[in-house]
Structures are given as C-alpha cells and as structure tokens.
Symmetry: C2
Subunit: 329 residues, 2 copies
C-alpha cells in the first residue's frame, strides 16, 4: 500500500494564510457557571459564529482556492448533511464556481435553505435506500466537476486546522495555554486538523474526541488502534457528526496525536445547548455541542481543575427544535 499523503503543521499554517480575509476570527468565551458544572476551567471557541454558521467554510475554502482556474467552470460536487454543504456552497459562490450538493432528504431545513441561499444546486436523496457517494460520483463523472470530500482530504484537514491555530494563539494571549482540548469527531477532519495545529503551537495540550452514544467509532478506534465502524442504524439528534467510521487520513493522524475518546448522551447534549444559550449567548446545534456536553457532564478525573478547551462547532439548528430543547429544562 502506498504511504498516505498526510498534512502537517506547516500545511495548516499555509491554509491560514490562504484563508485570510475569507473567514472570521471567532473569539473565546468562558463563564463561571460552566467552570463549576465542568469542574475545571473551560474555554469555548464558538465556531457557530463563523461564516455559514460552522467551521466547515474553512476547509471548503482552502480546498476550492486550490482548484486551478481552468478547472473552475466545471464546478464542484459535495455530499453532506448540511454544514459542509453550506461551506462548499459559499466558497463556490465567492469563487464564481457552480456547486451541486447531495443532501439527505431529512436534513434540517435551516441547512438546506442555507445551501440554496448561496445559489448551489441541491440533489436530495433517501439515506435509507440510496448511496450519496454513488450519486455524487455519477454526477461528477458526467460533469467533470471536482468532488470535495467532507473530511478525509489533505486540504480539508489543513483548512479546519486553522481553528486550532487561532485557539492556541488566543490562549497564549490570555497567558493560559490549554492543558486539554476536547473536540467533537464525526469524520475527524476538524479534530485532526486542530491536532496538527497544536502539535506546532501547543504541544503540551492533550486532545480527546467527543461523540454521541452509539456513534463512538473514534473512541473505540483509538482504544483499539485500528479503524472500527459504528453499528448501522444507530440514531442521535446530533445530525452533523454521524459518520460511520474515522477516515483513513484522519485516523492516521488521530492515532498519533489523540489521547482518547469521550461519549455523551443526547440528554447531556441538550444540557450543553441550554448552557450555551444561557451563559454564552450563542446558538449551538446538537452535533456542534458534544465537546461542551462532555465537559459539562463532569470532566474526567485527569482533566479536573485544568484548562480545557472545547468548541461549539456549529449553530445550524431549526428554530422549533431549539425552542423545544430550551423549554424542556
């Protein structure tokens, strides 16, 4: 087997230069009540405030900016439950490229509307009876367009990693480097990009995944030292991070740089969403709240009293579901 071509710290730095002017530098938030619930000092980077309401614009823009001019007219294709879709649609619009997004028919309306508002073509599919990979590949073959993967891609990983460069720099400015960082993991593009960034900027920070119950493929894969998949058919309302198993590139990085995995219940996710509302004043979507949920559920012993970074990775949640979660307290 050929060795994998994996990004390293310098690729994240290069992505950061490429993204200047295209993405927001989100701030870092904290609150005493959150520290008390967690049992440590918790620093929250709200990427829900990013363009398109999630960090996904970072990787998508980094990828699309590297498509040669003469290939741009054929456009891009992506499949995604919503946040990557919006990132690709926005990046394509800003670069004047056509985009087609393959989305599950049950994706949140706010995400479908976000993609549509950026002018992308949408192909809805039935996640039970159809394969999004096959649909996307067929369209790609026909159009000669570029497939933009949602996580298992050199440039996507490097682009998402720019969150980590910002976070580490901001904690340095506060004079408070992170002891730990917890980050939600679906395919793992974000957490492994961040791990590369911290390897260069904050090597003492230990990094853990957070996942919904029943989707703990990263936790089990890291423990086993090999890629393990989730049982098919498991459900969670954390739509953004329900990938079947770690990617090949992301796991190769994760195996080297991640310490282990935490698991949260849907109830703990709802508690985290309410805490983000009440104490931080940011809108957190279910799948974007798993690392905050892992902290608020009570930090593991080794993290107690330490400085722990978490991320709210997205805020694209339908109003009625959000209202229901707020009212259920």
């Amino acid at each position: 087997m050929d060795p994998l071509n994996l990004p390293v710290f310098e690729d994240v730095v290069a992505a950061s230069a490429r993204l200047a002017g295209h993405v927001r530098r989100t701030l870092v938030l904290r609150h005493d009540a959150i520290d008390e619930m967690a049992g440590g000092q918790v620093f929250v980077k709200p990427e829900c405030l990013q363009e398109t309401g999630s960090f996904k614009i970072r990787g998508a823009t980094n990828r699309l900016l590297q498509i040669p001019e003469d290939q741009r007219q054929a456009g891009v294709v992506a499949f995604s439950s919503g946040n990557h879709a919006q990132g690709v649609a926005r990046a394509a619009r800003l670069l004047g490229m056509p985009a087609l997004i393959v989305m599950p028919a049950n994706a949140p309306a706010v995400k479908v509307d976000g993609v549509r508002a950026d002018g992308a073509e949408i192909r809805l599919y039935d996640p039970v009876s159809e394969s999004r990979e096959e649909i996307a590949r067929a369209i790609n073959a026909e159009r000669g367009s570029v497939l933009v993967p949602s996580y298992d891609d050199f440039d996507i990983i490097a682009g998402q990693g720019t969150v980590g460069l910002e976070f580490a720099a901001q904690m340095q400015e506060l004079g408070a480097p992170l002891d730990y960082l917890i980050c939600g993991a679906g395919g793992g593009g974000l957490i492994t990009g961040i791990a590369l960034a911290l390897e260069g900027m904050s090597p003492q920070t230990r990094i853990w995944t957070a996942e919904p119950e029943g989707h703990d493929d990263w936790a089990r894969s890291l423990a086993a030292g090999e890629i393990l998949a989730n049982a098919p058919g498991t459900r969670s309302f954390c739509d953004a991070i329900l990938t079947p198993k770690p990617g090949n590139l992301t796991f190769a990085i994760g195996k080297r740089l991640l310490s282990g995995g935490l698991v949260v219940s849907d109830h703990e996710v709802a508690v985290a969403m309410r805490a983000a509302f009440r104490y931080l004043k940011v809108v957190a979507e279910p799948g974007g709240s798993v690392s905050l949920a892992a902290a608020l559920g009570g930090l593991p012993d080794e993290m107690r009293g330490k400085r722990v970074g978490v991320l709210v990775t997205g805020g694209n949640v339908d109003a009625l579901l959000y209202a229901e979660i707020l009212s259920a307290a």
Copy 2:
C-alpha cells in the same frame, strides 16, 4: 446653572485603556439575508457576547475602577432592571467590593440569577408602588456607599463608549467605515458614549437612536431640541431600555451628535431576535434588539444601500420567552 461636565473622545480612550483585560473585544458579524431584509449593508456588533451578557460591564467597570481604595469597603449601590445590575455586580466582585442592587420584582429571572451568582445583595421593589431612586438613596445614606448610575454619569458614558472605539477600529480593518450607526437608547449612556468615540474615529458616521413604540422619548426629544418624557404606563417587552426620558448629560451630548430617532414595534423586535438566532447564531434579548429591528424593518431612504452599523446590546432573556418568540414565526 453650572455648565455640565461632559466626557469627550479622550475620556473614552482613557476608559478603553482602563478596561483592557476586563472586557472582551466582541467581533463584528454580517449576513446576506440581513442585508437583503434591510436594504443596505448591515454590520452587527454582538455585545450580548460580552461578559455578563451585555455591554453594561464596560461602564460599570470604568466607574468602579475609579473609586479610591479607601472608599471601596463601603461598597456600591445601583438600581437597574437587570443588565446594569449584572455589570455592577460583576465589577464589584472583581474589585472585592460589596454591592447591593435594587431590582424590580418583575425583572427577568435570568438577570436576577446573574446578579446573585456574582454575590451581590438584592433588594426587590414593586415598580408600581415604590421608587427605586428613593430606596437606593436611603440605603446609600445609611451605608456611605457609592451610587453607580446606569447612564447619566461621566464615567459610565465614557465606559460604554469603548464599544464605539472597537466598532470603528474593526470597520477600518475591513476597509469599510460606517456611513450610519443605529443604536438602541434607553437612558442613552451607550449611544452617546459611542457618539463620542465616533466623533474622534469616524466623524462621517451619522448616528440614530432606535426605541420601542411608546418609548420614543429620544426620537421626540431630538426632534424638539429639548428633553421630553414618555407617557407613564406605556408597556413593551423590551425591559432593558424602558427609561422615562433622556438623561441630562446624555441629552446634552446627544443633541449635538445624534441625527434623529427611529421607532420599532414589538413585532419588529421579535423578527430581529429570530434573525439574530437564524443568521448570526447569537442570543438577542428584546431590549437588545431594537437597532437590528430598525434595520430589518427596512432602512430609511437615506440609509438604503449604505454601510449601517447596529448593535445587539444584550442577550439576557429567559429561555421560555425566547422559545415562545422562536416558535411564533
């Protein structure tokens, strides 16, 4: 009559130096959908992300930092419907001073809890039958503590004005100085502080107040050139900005630097709160949303197509009210 002692641009700059390390530099947000609803380019500064969930911490901290060491043990007293209360309580805690806050018995629970969490003593009063000014003055006389006014005060105005310094600097970084700024006005401490900041940093920016219907004391006072009060007993759910009339200091500044006043309905405020949720992913409270509401209701002709700054001044809203507003769309 003695001439009023009014702060100027340099006092806002001095406040900014004093506040370094005490407050957050909130970012600037925007969204195409908001621009389209407004009919112009709208830039939103979300001070709901500030410590204590509103800009009020800025003025309170600027004021308390200037109380001499030997007077700090007697503590501070403030009266407020909630956001100023939380700002004073937090600033007092950080400086190790006792604080007593006089709050209306119908203040939102999230605000009362916020004050309590910072260890301040709370005296609830009945806004129909009792005078908060008299209660606060009696307590003050007894304790020898310092009354911290919520808006009509040299240092409070200068402290709130630091929002304007940040906003102007951020727009300069974007290469897009503001043509207009709209800001909610209760007592007017924030908008007049911002007006002083912009006088020094962005003198071409024209500044307008925004107020809820029936509480348009600023709009009418600016038009008349003299302080006019609201009719007593008018109601709105914008609890944060229901002051009876402009302050003496704030109106003296406002008369010179403000262009006029806009008025919004409670319905328009709810639309703005939902837009902040959906497009910006920040939690906006009713009284904190009036300037965004004024923009989204459709900008006045002279502002159409221009660069217009607005502020979400606070995010301290009870979960059930927020859920109700989201569900009412």
